[in-house]
């Protein structure tokens, strides 16, 4: 079928994208000033130790040779050692990635549910007070950055009105579940440990919301404008004329075509949450990969930087393919290759 070959082509193309990304990030990480070996060992380390480390990391060789060693390692699953944590980078990523994934996934659920809800409500009550309220919320939500919201949330819920936990992934004294996927909510569900599941969920709420609010309202605006646009279409007038009830028209015949433009932006926004999570993770003391990656950059931890960027790139590519699949599902004109 067309879809299969399309998918295959996209996957092949994304390999090239990732290789390109790896080259770019490899060069950028190495041309910025500062000696990673010296930074790793500290200013008082003897020169011979620094030289030894440089040699071990192939830093004394030309860039091309360095890249060759590195990409060979990556291809075999060896991402190298972190200069800061002194552990295998892969291990670090395995530890920090699930926390961010969990955060981003909950954020994504918020984005999908609330953007459709607000967008559809605003379109349904266009130019009425509901629309105005959502519009004001939208301008505020898009304008205020997530880290400001994060600080506000910590201030309010961590200090003034502590109804919901505002720091970390689990409450103090809560035993984390056996790590299966690394996602606390899923692991606790798999082991049937519901109190821990509930605790993890409560801890997720505020950081996920802080991350989600911007994209929620951006997408809500897109959905609203697509829906109000489509309201003037003949197929809506026809459906009304056939006596199809209003809620079916709004929730089915109007919503589905109106989601198509929003889904593409939504996918990119959700993928961007990974990177945007950095400050939110710092503020909520969330042990995620975004925070790890930022620390790696500040300390010029070469292998960690490259690995984090490659992981982000991979997720971007996968999300984009997923978005294309969803759009193809929503729009038969794309799926079946008809004229647009």
């Amino acid at each position: 079928m067309r879809l299969h070959s399309y998918l295959l082509r996209r996957l092949l193309l994304s390999i090239f994208v990732l290789v390109g990304l790896s080259i770019v990030i490899f060069i950028i990480a190495r041309v910025v000033p500062g000696d990673p070996a010296r930074m790793a060992l500290g200013p008082r380390a003897p020169q011979f130790a620094v030289d030894a480390l440089r040699e071990e990391m192939h830093l004394d060789k030309p860039l091309v040779t360095q890249y060759y060693y590195w990409i060979k390692g990556v291809a075999t699953g060896d991402l190298g050692k972190s200069l800061v944590t002194k552990r295998e980078v892969l291990e670090d990523i395995m530890e920090f990635l699930p926390a961010t994934m969990e955060l981003v996934m909950v954020s994504a659920i918020f984005v999908i549910v609330f953007s459709i809800l607000f967008g559809a409500l605003a379109a349904r009550y266009k130019d009425k007070w509901v629309d105005s309220v959502i519009r004001i919320m939208a301008y505020t939500g898009v304008a205020v950055p997530s880290f400001v919201l994060a600080v506000l949330f910590v201030l309010i819920f961590g200090y003034l009105w502590p109804v919901i936990p505002a720091l970390g992934r689990l409450g103090a004294g809560v035993q984390p579940p056996v790590s299966i996927t690394g996602l606390l909510t899923i692991d606790s569900l798999l082991t049937g440990d519901f109190p821990v599941f509930w605790d993890a969920l409560k801890h997720l709420f505020l950081p996920a919301l802080a991350l989600a609010i911007g994209p929620i309202f951006q997408e809500a605006r897109i959905i609203r404008s697509a829906m109000t646009d489509n309201m003037g279409k003949d197929y809506v007038a026809a459906a009304v004329g056939y006596g199809i009830p209003n809620h079916i028209i709004m929730g089915k015949y109007l919503l589905k075509p109106s989601l198509i433009p929003a889904v593409s932006v939504m996918g990119l926004d959700i993928a961007s949450l990974m990177g945007n999570a950095f400050l939110v993770e710092v503020i909520f003391n969330w042990p995620g990969i975004s925070r790890y990656g930022m620390e790696a950059m500040l300390r010029k931890d070469l292998n960690a930087i490259s690995a984090v960027i490659i992981v982000f790139g991979l997720i971007f590519v996968l999300v984009n393919i997923l978005v294309d699949l969803i759009v193809a599902y929503l729009d038969p004109r794309i799926r079946l290759g008809g004229k647009l």
């Binding site: 279409k233 197929y235 459906a239 056939y242 006596g243 199809i244 009830p245 589905k256 198509i260």
Partner: protein, 323 residues
């Protein structure tokens, strides 16, 4: 004569625009009896579609404004109906076929999904609205519009069908459950001539078979002549002439009707048809008196000052001082 199925009385429709109200319909009167086929003829932009969309109350919400007039369906005013009664009219009484079949079908749902919903919400009894019965009705309707392989068509998306097939599907959706009156808004205009002819024949056949009334909107006098019993000629939001189809062609009276007739190119040659000078007026500042006077070769002073009303000349009505 029996009471009309639909009677439009002195209908005014305005559109809100940035420049003020655009006064499109200026007192339209029209009626259709049971089983009657009526044509509504006029050039593009003269308010034919606006008139018919206001019957189903599907004018753009918030833009259209109806300051005056009545639309009586069996004596009940559609414009004053509560949602439930209105729904009754839409599901049981009147259905409409649109000009652009490609725009009237939702591009992201299959034909089947759309048809099933039309049937499902048409107020069937519980027994009738079982899934297999809905499907049976849909297939029957598709057969009635002469499309082969209905099962396959139900799984198609609109963009997989040709223009003629799309229009047939629209017709099928309009007749899938019984209705009294069918409004066809230039159903052939976006199709090529041979398909257009097929669609018109199909419509006439179905309307006659099911005993429905038909209002056929068209800008083509030829189509109206072929399909209708009676014709309303419309210009700039006014009905200017009403007559039985044969009378209208035998003895056209209104200068606008004469102009329309002379706009039809003759197959026998003789150069480009004469046509009518000028354009449809600006509805924001419509001309006073008879709205046709700026384009009328026979206009006199009275035409500019006073609006002519329809006067009855033995079943043939015309709104012109000069007749």
């Amino acid at each position: 004569m029996s009471n009309p199925v639909l009677e439009i009385k002195n209908l005014h429709v305005w559109y809100r625009t940035y420049g003020g109200y655009s006064r499109v319909l200026d007192g339209v009167n029209l009626h259709v009896h049971k089983g009657e086929k009526v044509g509504l003829v006029g050039e593009a932009g003269c308010g034919k579609t606006t008139t018919m969309r206001s019957v189903l109350r599907i004018l753009p919400e918030g833009q259209a404004h109806i300051p005056e007039g009545q639309i009586l369906y069996h004596g009940n005013d559609i414009l004053k109906m509560k949602p439930r009664e209105l729904q009754q009219v839409r599901t049981r009484g009147i259905s409409m076929i649109f000009q652009e079949p490609a725009a009237a079908l939702n591009p992201v749902f299959t034909v089947g999904t759309q048809m099933f919903d039309v049937i499902k919400y048409s107020g069937l009894s519980k027994e009738e609205s079982r899934k297999d019965n809905i499907k049976r009705l849909a297939i029957q309707a598709i057969k009635e519009v002469y499309i082969p392989d209905p099962e396959r068509i139900l799984n198609c998306y609109p963009n997989q069908l040709s223009g003629g097939m799309k229009q047939r599907i629209c017709i099928a959706m309009a007749i899938v459950t019984p209705r009294e009156l069918l409004i066809a808004d230039e159903p052939g205009t976006s199709l090529d001539v041979t398909i257009q002819d097929q669609v018109h024949r199909l419509l006439r056949g179905l309307v006659e078979k099911k005993g429905m009334s038909l209002i056929m909107i068209t800008h083509s006098l030829g189509v109206a002549r072929e399909l209708t019993d009676r014709i309303y000629v419309m210009y700039a939001g006014n009905i200017v002439e009403v007559a039985r189809t044969s009378d209208l062609f035998a003895n056209p009276l209104h200068p606008y009707t004469l102009g329309l007739l002379s706009s039809v190119p003759k197959l026998t040659g003789g150069g480009v048809a004469e046509g009518i000078y000028g354009r449809i007026p600006d509805y924001l500042r419509p001309p006073g008196g008879c709205r046709f006077h700026p384009r009328c070769p026979r206009a006199v002073r009275r035409c500019r000052e006073e609006k002519p009303l329809l006067k009855d000349l033995g079943g043939h009505q015309v709104a012109c001082f000069q007749v």
